[in-house]
Subunit: 513 residues, 2 copies
């Protein structure tokens, strides 16, 4: 077209995203092959330290990790040790959750490397130390949906996400398994990490398995990744997941599970195309087995199963009893293998799963959820975070998200565990509000939330014996008595947030014996 001047272009100043005049010199045409380029990818850095430097991490920033490697995770400790060695201080640590293996964080807190923690839960020595007042700032607990919501609304801003991945190509396509070899660590879905990858300012993938480009399908796309570090081992496979979640043989749990399946059937929700999520825990997982025979008898199929996916769900799926699996977290190797091989087994993000900011989120499409509890009170409030001694030993997870979303929310639990009552007058810590829980199923009886009289009527009509939550609590009290009250100091060590970020409860420091 011949020479032109930018100023000749009419309305040039009103045209957005138009830059300066093209300059040939800006183009660097390379001649190397894909293989050569893969070896020299600018995203590949030689060490965690160089990655930390490259991200620009500095005092006071917020960093995140995912917990898909559960108690086999080496990544968080590895990165935190390096950060500490570099002298960076006052960080906010915002992983999707914390487990026993993360005990070394105690030292990093004491040394001022970590100032604050945001997490879904914590266990073990770290949780005990925090319950005894280790930190100046209270830990903020969020549900999986609440965390996604905080991230996507930019109320919680992650400066750097360090995300372990069982496979990654030299340009950043990462996944929770590898199709190139079957020997490495495998965690299945990377659902919780997806939000971090999308929204964090800088994203570092830590892997022990660099595979050829393109690592497709991918859980995290290259376009979300800034740097990649290869390390010897990202985790201990045996701590990450076992072969299959086994069915419980505990007779009490089996009674509860069968009863829960009967309640589901009696509720009228077990119709063709229903949707379901099962929490973890022996009784709640065993419900699947009893539902299976009911589904076979009725000749009906579920449209989808959601959540942490286990081998028991995969088994129903592979028998054609469930059409689709939406997987935010794979709980065992059977689930992970199904994710690899079954195209209707879909990896979903925490936002897709449970964000309260999204009316289409999957939890809102649940007909039925079966959940566990550490404690549940006569007003149906649930505690999944603190033990009977007041010490933190659990995680909110997706408990309150699914309870709110499902139209039938069932909590299964034994009346007592050892000498500890599960049904109490008032839970120690509220993590899931009673308004969102419909039925309690124990081995000693079923209680329906008085807010749902129509449900109680339907259950009774269909042969379920229903008592009140008070009756269950009294039975428990008769069996084990009233436990000594926990003694706390005034200091608040934890804040329990509800899905929208509001404060539903606080956790106080337990008093020394």
């Amino acid at each position: 077209m011949g020479p032109f001047k930018l100023n000749d272009i009419p309305h040039i100043n009103e045209l957005p995203a138009i830059g300066e005049e093209f300059r040939d010199t800006k183009i660097e045409k390379h001649t190397s092959s894909l293989k050569e380029r893969s070896e020299k990818s600018s995203k590949l850095l030689p060490s965690i330290r160089e990655a930390i430097i490259a991200t620009g991490l500095r005092d006071g920033m917020t960093i995140s990790f995912h917990h898909h490697f559960r108690n086999g995770d080496y990544v968080l400790n590895m990165v935190m040790d390096e950060i500490a060695a570099m002298g960076i201080k006052n960080l906010t640590l915002a992983p999707s959750s914390l487990l026993e293996i993360h005990e070394p964080l105690i030292e990093h807190i004491k040394n001022g490397v970590i100032k604050r923690i945001e997490t879904s839960g914590m266990r073990g020595e770290l949780a005990t130390a925090i319950s005894h007042g280790l930190m100046e700032y209270p830990v903020v607990f969020r549900s999986h949906g609440g965390r996604a919501y905080a991230i996507e609304t930019r109320r919680m801003r992650i400066d750097v996400a360090f995300l372990g991945a069982p496979s990654c190509d030299p340009f950043g396509n990462a996944n929770g398994y590898s199709r190139e070899n079957d020997n490495g660590v495998i965690c299945g879905s990377m659902g919780y990490a997806k939000c971090d990858a999308q929204y964090a300012n800088k994203v570092v993938i830590i892997t022990d398995n660099i595979v050829p480009f393109p690592n497709a399908p991918f859980g995290i796309p290259e376009s979300d990744v800034d740097f990649i570090v290869e390390v010897d081992k990202i985790g201990d496979p045996s701590g990450i997941m076992s072969g299959a979640t086994r069915y419980t043989k505990n007779p009490k749990e089996l009674i509860i599970a069968e009863c829960a399946a009967n309640v589901i059937e009696a509720s009228g929700k077990l119709t063709d195309g229903f949707s379901i999520q099962m929490g973890t825990g022996g009784a709640s997982l065993a419900v699947t087995r009893f539902l299976e025979s009911k589904m076979q008898q009725k000749g009906i199929k579920a449209s989808f199963a959601l959540g942490g996916i286990t081998g028991s769900m995969v088994s129903l799926f592979e028998k054609g009893l469930i059409k689709k699996l939406l997987d935010v977290q794979s709980f065992d190797l059977d689930a992970a293998r199904s994710l690899i091989n079954n195209r209707f087994h879909q990896q979903i993000s925490a936002s897709y799963y449970a964000s309260p900011g999204n009316p289409g989120s999957a939890v809102n499409q649940l007909d039925i959820v079966v959940l566990s509890a550490l404690e549940i009170d006569t007003d149906f409030n649930v505690n999944v975070l603190t033990g009977s001694d007041g010490v933190i030993r659990g995680a909110i997870g997706g408990h309150c998200d699914t309870a709110a979303g499902a139209s039938l929310t069932i909590v299964v639990c034994p009346l007592c565990r050892g000498r500890i009552p599960t049904i109490v007058k008032s839970v120690n810590t509220i993590t899931t509000p009673g308004k969102t829980v419909d039925v309690i199923v124990t081995e000693q009886g079923v209680a329906v939330n008085p807010r749902r009289p129509e449900l109680e009527e339907t259950l009774r009509k269909n042969g379920i014996e229903v008592c009140s939550s008070q009756e269950l609590q009294e039975k428990a009290e008769k069996m084990v008595g009233i436990p000594k009250p926990i003694r706390y100091t005034d200091k608040i060590v934890g804040i329990v947030t509800y899905r929208d970020g509001s404060v539903i409860d606080v956790i106080r420091q337990v008093e020394e014996e």
Copy 2:
């Protein structure tokens, strides 16, 4: 835990994303089933007009569409007619591309509904009218990668995206095909629409096929979608895609294709694990056939094929000669069906495909790309946008993106088309800079860019006869003479941007005969 006050929480004001105290009254626990909720989903709106109102669209905003329905698209015209009827004016229209079927836009431009256009290309009456000075503001042309880059850097802000989808569930999971029935429209990948869905302020899905939740796998997740409208027909299947792209029988094209395959082999790039993209056009598609036998002979496989995917690529993939297909746009039904059924056939976004902001983008991992051209000049600059009469009749597409990314960029074209030379002294419009093109293959000879002397040497060593681009141009001139120069006015009607948004050329108004 008993009563607490927010003010009791230490450092409460330093904790981000902590809201007010939890209020039970905010929870609305619903009791309806998934089926009942699906019918009443708040995202489902009864008409396009109500969706436009719901998005808050008003004068001066920017709206977008995708062109995966090609010349069978009903969505853009349907929505624009409604917008015009509502009296909204001065919009910027920013679809991923425009085709002949979008001729009705002429009236919307005349009536002031559309003030500006940003697109990859245009054809037919609309393009002719714009070339003759229809618009006051010049049209901004962007490559697929350049558009993704402008969107993700927020330099181009889309207020409302109206995205046609062959299937969508009541909560917004949308895809380019349906697994629930096989009768509807099918377009395969929705790669260009993914960026719009992710970044537009409001997203409306227009579909003629509401399927049960969850529509999984999905091209666009529910979390990116605000509203859904069901209409009678979103497009004409025959205009969207045909059964399979047929191999050319044109002898000239076959000579060019075979020669291009020989050049690829001679370049030394045809080694195990190579990567490739084929442009559209008879000769470039036919290269696949000749490559196939070379790959069989050598016993090598490609690691991936990229881009607009055709049945010919699928055929190699299904024979095991290509390991993975990365699909930003499915060119025919064979490609779309493969996307549905093959798990290593992966749907990718325009950003993943070609954004210059991302060093890991797939075009940067290409060993080989074979491209077509309307014109190419002796300095290897390519024109894919304007015809020999100076009128707009094409699209930049991924041409300059792949040319820059691939380590071997081959342009295949006949020396002349009818009485029109293809090899010229200076192209009418530069869309792809000569620095990024390595080889020209015509039926009359092969020219290598003088910027690549080592490549020329390798080709000669391996038996390819190489001439200069000037020799090719002179041959063309001898055959058809020098065409009469095009006469333009001074008015600039189009701006051609390079990948980064810089202005590489302008298009002027053609003078009336």
